[in-house]
């Protein structure tokens, strides 16, 4: 199967982020992704070199959570693509 070539550009809508496919095969994806804003901020910090554990530590402090719970919370946010909205082309 041919691998599609695309990346994402993130558009800030205020309460949420929308990820829009960009690149050669972008239109073939036929959709945009809505991402929880906190998940996006975490994704960004990880791409900047912060470890998930480090981020979990600051989340634990922010919400007064047990670290194990914070780690699971970070994992769930990273896995969370809240909605795939298919746009009628």
């Amino acid at each position: 199967m041919k691998k599609l070539k695309y990346n994402f550009e993130y558009v800030d809508m205020g309460e949420e982020i929308i990820a829009v496919p960009v690149g050669t095969d972008a239109d073939k994806l036929l959709g945009i992704l809505k991402i929880n804003k906190e998940a996006y901020e975490i994704m960004k910090r990880i791409s900047e070199g912060f470890s998930a554990e480090c981020i979990a530590n600051s989340i634990a402090q922010k919400y007064s959570l047990n670290l194990e719970i914070a780690v699971r919370y970070v994992d769930s946010l990273l896995n969370q693509l809240t909605e795939l909205e298919l746009i009628d082309q």
Partner: protein
């Protein structure tokens, strides 16, 4: 073949018009200024345009149709560098402001703006089908005319401050409501020219984002065959705002 210089969205660009039809379409936009951009269509680009049309619609376009489409794409691609992007939308000017009605083909954009012309003597059409949106450095947003204006050839070589973008859909009754940028974005994205080039597409998205807070967005459920379709839109967009 004629090399002609066109003034679109504040930029002067030169194109090579092979067909009389393309030349005639562009006549209202011909400029004597020096061109900042020279756009030439290669044979490969021409054939790619034909192939894309064939894949989409199942028929080959004529040479003239292809020339018209490929130059629209070239112009739309080129103007992104000048903070200008293309929307599939009919735009009308009234009282110094522009209102852009955007929707899929066949929804009734042109029919609706003709009602504005009939009911408002001071209104005029900026573009009947494909309007350019220019964002200046100071953040002001303008709707701009272009030669690519649909079957009725309704266009004016002008730029007016863009006040509202109205997303139209067909409906039994006429109803209009203001919506947020977040609500408008997924629908609007479908009507915006989306370049294949990744960096140009990213720039287009960033330009779209600048509309947030500057331009108002509306959802217009429209029945052009009912008498209240003009008043419903006009009262909400112009009279009350």
């Amino acid at each position: 073949m004629r090399v002609i210089k066109l003034q679109i969205a504040g930029q002067t660009l030169s194109i090579h018009a092979n067909s009389k039809r393309l030349y005639n379409m562009c006549r209202g936009f011909i400029s004597t200024k020096d061109a900042t951009l020279s756009l030439i269509v290669s044979e490969e680009e021409f054939e790619n345009e034909r192939e894309e049309y064939l894949n989409r619609f199942g028929v080959l376009p004529s040479q003239i149709q292809t020339e018209i489409m490929v130059y629209l794409r070239k112009v739309a691609d080129a103007l992104i560098a000048y903070n200008t992007f293309l929307i599939h939308g009919a735009s009308i000017a009234i009282c110094g402001n522009a209102y852009m009605f955007s929707a899929k083909s066949g929804t009734g954009k042109t029919t609706h703006i003709l009602k504005w012309l009939a009911n408002s003597p001071s209104a005029y059409v900026i573009n009947g089908d494909k309007s350019f949106v220019k964002i200046n450095d100071d953040g002001t947003v303008f709707a701009c005319g272009s030669p690519w204006s649909g079957k009725e050839n309704l266009c004016t070589n002008t730029m007016e401050p863009l006040k509202s973008i109205i997303l139209m859909e067909r409906s039994e009754n006429n109803y209009i409501e203001q919506i947020t940028f977040a609500e408008a974005f997924p629908v609007l994205l479908q009507q915006v020219y989306r370049p294949n080039d990744e960096e140009k597409m990213r720039k287009t998205l960033r330009l779209m984002q600048q509309l947030n807070g500057t331009v108002s967005f509306w959802r217009f459920k429209c029945n052009n065959f009912k008498d209240d379709c003009f008043e419903t839109a006009y009262n909400a967009l112009v009279r009350e705002h």
